[in-house]
């Protein structure tokens, strides 16, 4: 767990320190990619907690979601329809659902632990 947080901190500091910038036209795509990756991440955590985690699904989902979201946004720009809203909506809803499930699982585990301790 701490290692992954370290990875996050490392990524953020690397990004901030190197001061990499992308053209502002592509900022939209990147924001959607961030959302997609967050969605995959929380999906992975949930799957892990539910003991259905699959490595291939996780990694492929990560890249596929990002590409799909960016592709949708790209298509939307060229068709004049704000299709990236669809991606944002889908990922946003899924993010909330996943976090809710994770919360429930953690709460249940916590209650279980408490009960076990109580019986001892």
């Amino acid at each position: 767990m701490w290692l992954s947080i370290l990875g996050l901190i490392l990524g953020i500091s690397l990004g901030l320190l190197t001061d990499i910038q992308i053209p502002p036209e592509y900022a939209n795509y990147l924001s959607i990619a961030v959302l997609a990756s967050l969605d995959t991440l929380f999906g992975g955590i949930r799957a892990h907690l539910q003991q259905v985690y699959d490595d291939k699904v996780f990694v492929s989902g990560f890249f596929f979601n990002i590409v799909l979201a960016a592709g949708l946004a790209f298509l939307g720009v060229h068709l004049g329809v704000d299709l990236y809203l669809a991606a944002i909506f889908a990922f946003g809803v899924r993010l909330f659902q996943n976090i809710a499930v994770i919360r429930r699982i953690i709460l249940a585990k916590w209650a279980e632990k408490k009960e076990v301790r109580g019986t001892i």
Binding site: M1, L3, S4, I5, L6, G7, L8, I9, L10, G11, I12, S13, L14, G15, L16, D19, I20, Q21, I22, P23, P24, A27, L30, S31, A33, V34, S37, L38, T40, L41, G44, I45, H48, Y53, D55, F58, V59, F62
Partner: protein, 238 residues
């Protein structure tokens, strides 16, 4: 197995962090490129230098006033105040101004007279352009047809007649008096007006500008209305 999951998560978190940081960089400091060439930068520099010297001279004059106040504080503060008030009135256009300047006569063009065209009044737009042109070349005090131009002067169309300070301007010929800071400035303005494209603009309206040689002593009358200070606010200084 557990280790592998952790590695995957760490890698994904790293990518997320990197993307978020890049997004943050992009949103917060859009890459503004300086596309000015050397000449434009030179111009900018000269503008700033001009501002610098102007500010310096302003500081000098304010220092002078301050010294005068200090010197006169014991003797007669009233006198110093009176002098300052007089200076302020002068720069606001509330008192008569004297100095080197030129007189510009706006007349109907010879062709218009020869063709028997009806002479119409000057248009406010043209007059505003002329005043802008004069201000560009350091015209200090200006009066149009005896109407003094001050900071709040409006040149506009009132009921079909061009008015300055809400008083109508005569149909040409009428004269415009311009006082500059020095004889040199007057000469500069004189040459500029002679060569300016504004002459063509006047000619389109069947008018000509007759610019007189710079004179040493030109008198411009004071602004005769009341200055509305309803919206003035005290500046927050020291």
């Amino acid at each position: 197995m557990k280790k592998r999951i952790l590695t995957r998560f760490t890698a994904i978190m790293f990518i997320i962090g990197l993307m978020a940081a890049i997004q943050y960089n992009t949103i917060n400091e859009p890459n503004l490129r300086d596309t000015r060439d050397e000449w434009e930068i030179r111009q900018e520099l000269s503008r700033e230098k001009q501002l610098h010297s102007q500010l310096l001279s302003e500081i000098g004059s304010l220092d002078e006033t301050l010294n005068k106040y200090r010197a006169a504080a014991d003797a007669s503060p009233e006198q110093a105040l009176r002098e300052t008030a007089g200076e302020l009135r002068k720069s606001a256009g509330l008192s008569e101004a004297k100095g080197p300047g030129i007189e510009v006569l706006v007349e109907p063009s010879l062709e218009a007279v020869a063709m028997g065209l009806e002479i119409e009044g000057i248009s406010p737009d043209l007059l505003i352009r002329l005043v802008n042109e004069i201000n560009r070349y350091n015209g200090l005090y200006v009066s149009i047809d005896g109407k003094r131009i001050i900071n709040t002067t409006a040149i506009r169309d009132i009921n079909g007649q061009t008015a300055v300070n809400t008083k109508p301007v005569d149909t040409p010929p009428f004269s415009i008096k311009i006082i500059s800071e020095s004889m040199e400035d007057s000469k500069k303005l004189y040459n500029h007006l002679l060569a300016s494209r504004i002459l063509d603009d006047f000619y389109i309206d069947n008018l000509t500008l007759n610019v007189s040689e710079p004179q040493n002593e030109l008198v411009i009358e004071a602004y005769d209305g009341t200055v509305d200070t309803k919206y003035l606010q005290a500046s927050e200084g020291e």
